[in-house]
C-alpha cells in the first residue's frame, strides 16, 4: 500500500477498501447532524418516503440554531415538528434553543480525528478543525444517511497547506481563510480537500482552526482538515476529558500541490462585497462608513474572538450598532466569567448567545437598504444579511471591533 494522505486514510477506513482520488465510494458515516431549519426538511423527506428510521441513535446530533429563539410562528412550528421527532425516536443528542450553534456543538462535544461527519448545513466543514472529514449536504442526502448510516462520495484530490511561524499582531484564523480565498479564489478547490499542517501547533489554536475549516466551504473544498496534533489533543481533553487517538497522513503521501503561508508576515484582511474572494488588505478599505457590526456566528463566535473584541472595546463606546453573539452557552458563560461580555455591553453592544440569526439574514440584526455591515461571519453574498442593497464586509474580530468603535472600517494596527 502506498503512502496515504489524511483524506485517503479516512475514506479508505470508511469504505473498507484502498481508495484513490476520483474513486466513487460508499462510505460509512460516524456522525450525522442537522439543525432546526434544515432538520424539518430532512424529516419531511423521510416521512414522504415512508422511512422514518434512524441507523444509530447515538450517532445523530440535532441542535436548534437558525431559528433560535423562534422569530415567528412558522419557526416555532418547525421546531415543534422536530421536537416531536426527537421524542418519538428517542434521540439522546438533542440541543434545544438554549445551547448553541450546531457546528460549535459538534467540535465541543462530538467530532474526533479521522471521522466521517455529515450534516445538513454547508458549514459542517468546521469539524475539520479536529481532523474529521466533514461535509455539508442537502436534506435528501442527509435523510438517506440518517436511515442507512452511509453515503456515496467521489474521493477528492488532497492539497497541502503549511502554516509557518507565529501569527502577526491581530492576525487570527479569519485572515488565513481570507488569504486562501484571495489567493486561490472561490472555485479553485472544487473537487479537492485541503489538509493543513501547522508547523508550530500551539501558535494556531483550535478557535482559529475552526474559523479556517468553517470557511472551507467558501473555497468550495470537499473538506478542510487540520492535521491532528498536540493542540487537537489538548482541546478535546479540555472539552471532554479524554485524549483522542490522532489520525495523521503517512510520510511521503502525494498531494496535488503544496502552499505555504507565513503567519508572521500577514496583514489583516477583509472580503469586500459581494464575494468571499474579493479580498483586500484592510487599509485599502479604511474610512468606509459602517452602520452595523456583527461579531459572532459559527465562523467567529468563539472565546478568542470575544477576548480580542473586549481588549479593543475596553472603556470605549461604539459608534456603529454592534451585535455580538458567542456560538454556544459554554462560550457565553466563559466570556461572562472573564468579563468580556461586561466590557462589550458597557461599550454599547447587544449581546446574546446561541443563534445564527444575523449571519443568514434570519433575524436579530437584518441589514437595511444602503447600509454597510462589517461581519465576522462567513458570507457576504448579495442579500445574505437582509436587503439586496446592503453591503457586507467580512473580517476577523479585531477589524470588526475597532470598526464598531470608529464607525468606519479601520486598521486595528493603529492600536
Amino acid at each position: 500500500m502506498s503512502a496515504k494522505t489524511l483524506t485517503e486514510k479516512i475514506l479508505s477506513r470508511a469504505s473498507g477498501k484502498d481508495v484513490s482520488p476520483g474513486d466513487v465510494i460508499e462510505a460509512k458515516v460516524d456522525l450525522v447532524a442537522f439543525h432546526d431549519l434544515t432538520g424539518y426538511h430532512v424529516i419531511e423527506v423521510m416521512e414522504k418516503a415512508n422511512m422514518i428510521k434512524v441507523f444509530d441513535k447515538s450517532k445523530l446530533v440535532i441542535a436548534f440554531d437558525h431559528l433560535a429563539p423562534p422569530p415567528d410562528v412558522r419557526s416555532a412550528e418547525i421546531q415543534g415538528y422536530i421536537r416531536k421527532f426527537v421524542k418519538s425516536e428517542g434521540i439522546p443528542n438533542f440541543y434545544d434553543i438554549n445551547y448553541g450553534i450546531l457546528h460549535e456543538v459538534m467540535i465541543e462535544q462530538y467530532a474526533n480525528p479521522g471521522q466521517v461527519i455529515l450534516a445538513a448545513d454547508s458549514h459542517t466543514t468546521t469539524s475539520g478543525a479536529v481532523g474529521a472529514f466533514a461535509q455539508g449536504m442537502g436534506a435528501s442526502d442527509i435523510a438517506a444517511a440518517v436511515i442507512t448510516g452511509k453515503t456515496w462520495l467521489v474521493v477528492p484530490q488532497p492539497f497541502k497547506v503549511v502554516l509557518e511561524g507565529k501569527p502577526a499582531k491581530w492576525i487570527t484564523g479569519k485572515d488565513v481563510a481570507l488569504k486562501l480565498l484571495g489567493d486561490f479564489k472561490a472555485d479553485y478547490f472544487n473537487g479537492m480537500t485541503l489538509e493543513i499542517f501547522v508547523k508550530d501547533p500551539l501558535s494556531f489554536p483550535m478557535d482559529y482552526r475552526a474559523t479556517v475549516s468553517n470557511m472551507g466551504i467558501e473555497m468550495n473544498a470537499d473538506a478542510l482538515m487540520f492535521i491532528p496534533d498536540q493542540e487537537t489533543k489538548r482541546y478535546i481533553k479540555e472539552m471532554r476529558g479524554y485524549e483522542p487517538e490522532l489520525v495523521t497522513p503517512d510520510n511521503g503521501a502525494k498531494y496535488a500541490d503544496e502552499y505555504a503561508i507565513q503567519l508572521d508576515k500577514m496583514e489583516p484582511l477583509v472580503a469586500a462585497p459581494h464575494s468571499v474572494d474579493n479580498v483586500k488588505v484592510v487599509n485599502e478599505l479604511e474610512g468606509t462608513p459602517v452602520d452595523q457590526v456583527y461579531i459572532g456566528s459559527c465562523t467567529n463566535g468563539r472565546l478568542s474572538d470575544f477576548e480580542i473584541a473586549a481588549k479593543i472595546m475596553k472603556g470605549k463606546k461604539v459608534k456603529s450598532r454592534c451585535i455580538a453573539i458567542p456560538a454556544s452557552y459554554r462560550m457565553f458563560k466563559e466570556a461572562l466569567e472573564r468579563g468580556y461580555i461586561q466590557t462589550l455591553v458597557d461599550a454599547g453592544c447587544i449581546v446574546t448567545y446561541g443563534t445564527c440569526g444575523p449571519c443568514l439574514g434570519g433575524h436579530f440584526g437584518i441589514a437595511g437598504p444602503g447600509e454597510n455591515v462589517v461581519s465576522t461571519s462567513s458570507r457576504n453574498f448579495k442579500g445574505r444579511m437582509g436587503s439586496n442593497e446592503a453591503k457586507v464586509y467580512l473580517s476577523g474580530p479585531a477589524v470588526a471591533a475597532i470598526s464598531a468603535l470608529e464607525g468606519k472600517i479601520t486598521d486595528p494596527r493603529v492600536i
Partner: protein, 165 residues
C-alpha cells in the same frame, strides 16, 4: 435522456442566497419556492422560466448553502437542466437528488448565447447548439441511477426492494 429548450444565461458564482434567499427556507412547497427563485437578480425570472428553459452559467453555480430548496425552486420554476463551467458540490448533488440534470461544460458562457435553442444528451454530455456540437461532462454511474430513479429517496427504496429479493 434528451432535454431541449431555450437558454437563459447567468455569469460566474451564482450563489444559493441568489437562487433562493434564506427568508423563504421555512417552506419546502415547490410552487411557493418557484415564485421567488433568482429574485435578487431578476424578480421576473420565474415567469420567464415557466415555459421550460435551460440555464447556462459560469463558474461554481450553486455555491454556498446546503439548502435543497435551491434545486427544488429552479426545477419547479421550469428549469429543465443547467449547463455550467463548474458546480458547487452540494448543489450538484441536490440537483441530481431532485431529478434536475446538471452538465459541466468548460467555456459554456462563451460557447452558448442567450436565447439559443439547445438540445442536451444528459448521459453523454453532448450539447447541440445550431449545427455545433459541444462536448460537456454528462451524468454517469451512480448519479445517473439516482437521477433516473427520480431522486435519492426513490433510489433508496428501489435498492431496499432489490436487496430484499
Amino acid at each position: 435522456m434528451i432535454i431541449e429548450g431555450p437558454v437563459i444565461k447567468f455569469g460566474d458564482k451564482i450563489d444559493t442566497d441568489i437562487i433562493i434567499p434564506a427568508r423563504y427556507l421555512k417552506y419546502t412547497d415547490p410552487q411557493y419556492l418557484a415564485q421567488h427563485v433568482m429574485e435578487p437578480l431578476d424578480p421576473e425570472f420565474y415567469k420567464k422560466a415557466s415555459k421550460g428553459v435551460i440555464i447556462v452559467a459560469g463558474k461554481v453555480f450553486g455555491m454556498g448553502s446546503s439548502r435543497e430548496q435551491a434545486a427544488i425552486a429552479l426545477k419547479a420554476a421550469g428549469v429543465k437542466a443547467i449547463v455550467a463551467e463548474s458546480f458547487a458540490r452540494i448543489f450538484y448533488r441536490n440537483a441530481i437528488n431532485n431529478g434536475l440534470p446538471v452538465i459541466t461544460l468548460p467555456n459554456s458562457t462563451k460557447e452558448i448565447n442567450e436565447n439559443s435553442y439547445v438540445k442536451i444528451n444528459v448521459e453523454t454530455g453532448e450539447i447541440l447548439v445550431g449545427n455545433k456540437v459541444l462536448k460537456g461532462k454528462g451524468i454517469t454511474g451512480m448519479a445517473l441511477e439516482i437521477l433516473q430513479a427520480g431522486g435519492i429517496m426513490e433510489y433508496l427504496k428501489k435498492m431496499q426492494t432489490v436487496n430484499r429479493n
